[in-house]
């Protein structure tokens, strides 16, 4: 098995803030690797180091065997970066943006034009090819941005939160594009705040928090460990809450959480609903609300670290 990206003990500080506190990563060639974590966990910093935009303060990293610090120019020839914000020139047209990058990286005028046409077609932007990018919708901009990072036919592609801020439809489109990419053999390093996104796209996931990796594994491994789904129950009678806690605790390795009169807990078994319903019936508890849904990143965090992500804590205290 070969690895396209290997990072060992990456450290990055900004003043007193430690953005990365010794991150280790190994991304298999041709796979999609998901870097999952909340805002400010260090995902973007890690990507910026691997894309040679930022120098690490400690540790080292290689891309296809080239060191990101001492052989940055070689690394740049192998990688493409699509950032959190669509980084294209808004005053230029789609074609002009792509041609500019082609010309900059040494393509002849006709080759650059051909490549631009091809990529615009692949990302369904042909109709908008000669319009200024500032007239594009959010989803179109992201697609153009992704196309721009593919002009040089990179072997390794960094996607930094590719769907943040997109509506569900555009997000699904983006997912299809990423899946299509992996079929061509590109190695993708994806950062995301959404568990569902990592689950949908990535073959391996590293969960990061405060600049360190706190868990790694395939999506299934992670879900088995943290609970793929969250069960939430609200008894009709608030006095039944302790009894409900006692029952649902038996279905999870994690302590149930109580908010107002709603009890939530991550669960792993698939047949949990009928079984838990039977227990409630046996105990004579009337349930006002019962649902089973996919776990959010916050809930994964809760079961991995025993605490909520910081944004959640802030929102909770403000409420």
């Amino acid at each position: 098995m070969t690895y396209s990206i290997i990072a060992e003990g990456l450290v990055k500080r900004y003043g007193d803030t430690v953005a990365l506190d010794g991150i280790d990563l190994a991304v298999r060639t041709g796979s999609v690797f998901g870097l999952l974590g909340p805002n400010g966990a260090g995902k973007t910093t890690a990507v910026r180091i691997l894309a040679t935009l930022v120098r690490p303060d400690g540790g080292q990293a290689t891309v296809c065997g080239y060191d990101v610090v001492s052989q940055a120019h070689q690394v740049r020839q192998l990688t493409g970066l699509t950032g959190q914000y669509a980084s294209v020139d808004e005053t230029l047209t789609g074609t002009e943006n792509l041609m500019l990058i082609g010309r900059l990286t040494g393509q002849s005028r006709s080759a650059a034009r051909g490549r631009a046409r091809e990529l615009l077609a692949a990302f369904r932007l042909t109709d908008a090819a000669d319009r200024a990018v500032k007239t594009y919708s959010g989803g179109m901009r992201r697609r153009l941005d992704l196309a721009a990072s593919l002009v040089t036919s990179p072997r390794v592609l960094y996607l930094d939160e590719p769907t943040t801020g997109l509506d569900p439809l555009s997000r699904n489109e983006m997912w299809d594009v990423v899946r299509g990419l992996t079929a061509t053999g590109v190695t993708v390093l994806l950062t995301t705040q959404y568990l569902e996104e990592a689950d949908q796209l990535a073959e391996d996931i590293a969960v990061v928090d405060h600049g360190t990796v706190i868990a790694t594994g395939t999506p299934d491994e992670l879900k088995a460990r943290t609970g793929a789904q969250t069960l939430s129950v609200r008894p009709a009678n608030p006095a039944d809450v302790p009894a409900v806690v006692a029952i649902v605790a038996g279905f999870s390795l994690t302590e149930p959480e109580v908010r107002n009169t709603t009890v939530t807990v991550p669960v792993t078994q698939e047949d949990v609903l009928p079984r838990v319903m039977r227990r409630f019936e046996d105990a004579g508890i009337r349930v006002a609300e019962l649902n089973l849904r996919g776990s959010s990143l916050d809930e994964v965090f809760l079961s991995l670290t025993g605490r909520r992500t910081e944004t959640e804590v802030l929102e909770g205290s403000a409420a």
């Binding site: 740049r76 669509a86 020139d89 393509q107 002849s108 053999g185």
Partner: protein
């Protein structure tokens, strides 16, 4: 320009026109085996990249013609305003004042041009376009030199236009026998000082941009 640069980009398959929606993603195939990667950017490549990026800044004018007003119409307005509205009062007659005002407006315009360089650069940094450029295997200086080259071109255009209009209005060069050389040297001086000032403002633009950590 030669058409010999097909070494790195020969991945584009010759199936032009066949790029239908479904099969199109196959066009995104990465390079085959790890070719020999160049360890650094050659000076000639750096120069070419500078020109490409200068082209990008100039082509923006095409899409945003309002910018044309900034560096063409505005100096002409200043020239007319100072010569014909204030000129008589300040310099005795509009013509006498024109002889004094024209070189001044050329210098004033060159200062405005350097400001353009800095604000343009700052916008690139904020919007993330600069990161895109830095992630490409291009000369590190190209994004800066490209922008400055473009602004020098705009500046040259403005100087030629101002002198042309000034000439029509009655401006004459006073250094009689060798005047073409003297005028060319003066142009050169204005362009070189614009260039120098542009570089001085580059660190300011970079500093003004606060990095999002």
């Amino acid at each position: 320009m030669t058409t010999a640069s097909t070494t790195m980009n020969s991945t584009v398959p010759d199936t032009s026109g066949a790029a239908s929606a479904a099969g199109a993603l196959s066009a995104l195939k990465p390079l085959g085996p790890l070719g020999s990667l160049s360890p650094r950017v050659g000076p000639l490549q750096g120069l070419r990249q500078t020109f490409s990026l200068a082209w990008r800044t100039l082509v923006q004018i095409k899409h945003n013609p309002a910018e044309l007003i900034d560096f063409s119409i505005q100096p002409v307005m200043f020239l007319l305003l100072f010569t014909y509205v204030f000129g008589g009062a300040i310099g005795g007659s509009p013509h006498a004042y024109l002889m004094f005002a024209l070189p001044g407006i050329i210098v004033q315009n060159s200062l405005f041009t350097t400001l353009n360089t800095a604000t343009g650069l700052s916008t690139d940094l904020e919007k993330g376009f600069f990161d895109r450029l830095r992630s490409l295997a291009i000369a590190r200086f190209a994004p800066l030199s490209g922008r400055i080259l473009a602004d020098i071109a705009k500046q040259a255009w403005a100087v030629i236009m101002l002198v042309g209009i000034g000439y029509i209005l009655g401006f004459r060069v006073g250094t009689a026998p060798h005047w073409p050389l003297g005028v060319l040297a003066a142009f050169g001086l204005v362009l070189v000082s614009t260039l120098a000032l542009s570089w001085a403002l580059v660190p300011l633009a970079v500093r003004a941009f606060k990095r999002r950590v």
